[in-house]
Amino acid sequence: MPNTKRRRLLVRGAASALAITLGATALAACGSSDDDGGTASGPVSLTYWTWTPGMDKVVDLWNKGQGKKDRITVTVKKQASGDTLITKILTAHKAGKAPDLVQAEYQALPTLVSNDALADIAKNVGDARAKFADGVWQQTTLGTDAVYAVPQDIGPMMFYYRADLFKKYGLTVPATWEQFAETARALKKKSPGTDLTTFSASDSGLFAGLAQQAGAKWWTTSGDKWKVAIDDAATKKVADFWGGLVKEGAVDNQPMYTPAWNKALDTGKQIAWVSAVWAPGTLTTAAPDTKGKWAMAPLPQWSDGENVTGSWGGSSTAVTTDSKHKEAAAKFAAWLNTDGDALNALAKEGGIYPASTSAQLSGAFTTPPDFFSNQADFYALAAKIARTTAPSAWGPNVNVAYTTFNDAFGAAAKDRSDFSAALAKMQSATVADMKKQGFEVSE
């Protein structure tokens, strides 16, 4: 086979899979719509796997409005989110029974594409591009001319802090990471029992977002090969920074999202949180007694005057190769994520922060979230921060990198030992897994 090499870049396993490459020269012929007859012929019904709460109500808007006109009915099948859903989609795809539409987190898209599960919908949703920031849109193209999904929600990262306690301890909001470290130390001096925040070794997405802000590009391709750079200089900088803080005891080393963490936030034992735009929702349940006491600021920067953030979370709507009505499905995906009414309903019912830039300042986002009623410009600031999101570079085995992160960094954070050794472990485990899966990896 002449193009075995190219094929192995992204496609593994199935010999029947179409060749998909990341090279700009060779555009993938994936999802050719020969079987995709006219949408005008007869009513079409589509199934949609999603975990967003209240999505059925949003889809009702479509089924009663635009969808009725186009004779396209969408049925929501609510799923649990996470890596297990990817496995479920791939299993269904193996049997040719994947649903027409799936919700997928950005970092899962390469995995799905490399298994030939997602259709190229560039022809159908090309116009939607203008509605999204470049850094967001790029995640759905994987750097090719193809488009594998329409962005739905994003999670630009921000710095959350207890405004009242910052005042009480005489702290200022750090603009750089250096100041962040000083703030943590100053707080320790003033109140030894209080931590600025914690380094959570169970939240790989947070670490990935911090590395992304520092300029890391974990997965890239050159020619026919993948390059894995989880231990690049930028990520090392982030790992050493947090490792140092944990080692000297300036920040806590306990994981987030535990009862103990909730309690620490609720009682003011931890007074800041590096998080993303969806933090108000989490704080509402984690620290109910602190309502109105928090404020949000941009993430600290690596050098003065810079203006970059990473992202933590966010997902997209994709059309599968198993769908018999790809054009209709793409039409719905574009409507769902660009139509004003749809996005308003999504924000109201599902609590999402829209990827579409025009929606970030309208409807539900003209007033601050309930928990942050004291910060009137919350969403104006959020939209400004969202525009500074650094591009991300996901690969086909993010799940392996994340699992290794949890293990290696979990142990390192617990012993307060060297984080760069843990990072090296993450790199080697990820490379080894890719090779095992049959990808070509350059050293």
């Binding site: 796997w49 975990w51 967003t52 479920k88």
Partner: protein, 301 residues
């Protein structure tokens, strides 16, 4: 829950042996075993106690008040659970009851037929068949879930009630247990006597053997019921429509709502608590069949 059943079976066998053999020894309290068992019981019951108490806490109390201090939100939790997606929880409960009840019943029937046949009849390939069955006992059902899904997809049955029910009907362990039990509880002489009197094989099975096998079959039913009730992976792969989900899957979707939506802990905990109740009730009701088991063993010649 399943550990309860596991303890019951060997204790039945042990009691039989003791009763048949020497006269019973005078009981004295063995301190070390008692303490060990008490510790074991504590280890098993503590999480249950946690679920029971946590289900009474409101979201605000859940992580802030002392762990074993009952809260004030039980009624609210129930109301919220009932209101979630128009009461889909009760639908899940019903589905679980259907999968576990019907699945275990069908599985017990199959086990009774095949166990009895394997124990009573001599035919070519019987041992081979039984050995294959034993291999099936050793095979964890999780491994089979994906191949079963691909088969169901070929048959066009995925995302239907059948997709979850059918794979559960044949339980190698159930057949194995039924055979062992039938071999011990249905004496060949009785079957012979039935034949002498001119009863058909079907009549012998239904009128003579089946009643003798009831305690064993109850065990098979319970095992299978608990296994299906707790099963996660098979329905997870087979079903995509959340109206067909069993409780395990439904609660999982409540937990994994995506990064930007907090998990509905109070609903999940209350839901888990309610999901345990039918199992406990079932075990309490069926317990008397096990005491029957002890008796029938002891009376045997």
């Amino acid at each position: 829950m399943s550990s309860l059943a596991v303890h019951q079976v060997p204790s039945a066998a042990g009691a039989t042996g003791a009763a048949r053999g020497r006269p019973p020894l005078r009981r004295r309290i063995a301190l070390v075993p008692t303490l060990t068992l008490l510790l074991g019981a504590l280890y098993c019951l503590l999480p249950v106690a946690w679920v029971v108490i946590a289900s009474t806490k409101s979201g605000r109390e859940l992580f802030t008040t002392f762990t074993f201090l009952p809260g004030t939100g039980f009624a609210d939790n129930l109301r919220d659970l009932d209101a979630y997606r128009d009461g889909v929880y009760w639908q899940w409960m019903g589905n679980s009851a259907l999968y576990a009840g019907l699945g275990a019943l069908l599985s017990t029937c199959v086990s009774a037929f095949s166990g009895y046949a394997l124990a009573t009849y001599r035919f070519r390939g019987r041992e081979t068949m039984f050995n294959i069955l034993l291999a099936g006992v050793l095979m964890p059902p999780i491994i089979l879930a994906v191949p079963q899904y691909l088969l169901m997809a070929k048959a066009g049955l995925t995302d239907s009630y059948w997709a979850v029910l059918l794979p559960q009907v044949l339980s190698p362990y159930g057949v194995y247990l039924a055979r062992i039990y039938a071999a011990a509880a249905v004496p060949d002489d009785v079957v012979e006597a039935g034949r002498m009197d001119g009863a058909s094989e079907w009549r012998i099975f239904t009128r003579i053997a089946l009643p003798m096998m009831v305690p064993g079959l109850v065990t098979v039913f319970l095992f299978q019921f608990v296994a299906v009730w707790n099963n996660f992976l098979l329905p997870y792969i087979m079903l995509s429509d959340d109206e067909k989900f069993p409780i395990t899957l439904g609660l999982f979707t409540l937990l994994e709502q995506g990064a930007n939506t907090p998990a509905l802990y109070t609903l999940v905990i209350t839901g888990a608590f309610l999901a345990v109740i039918p199992l406990v009730a079932l075990f309490l009701v069926v317990q008397r069949f096990w005491s029957l088991d002890l008796l029938s063993g002891a009376v045997k010649s």
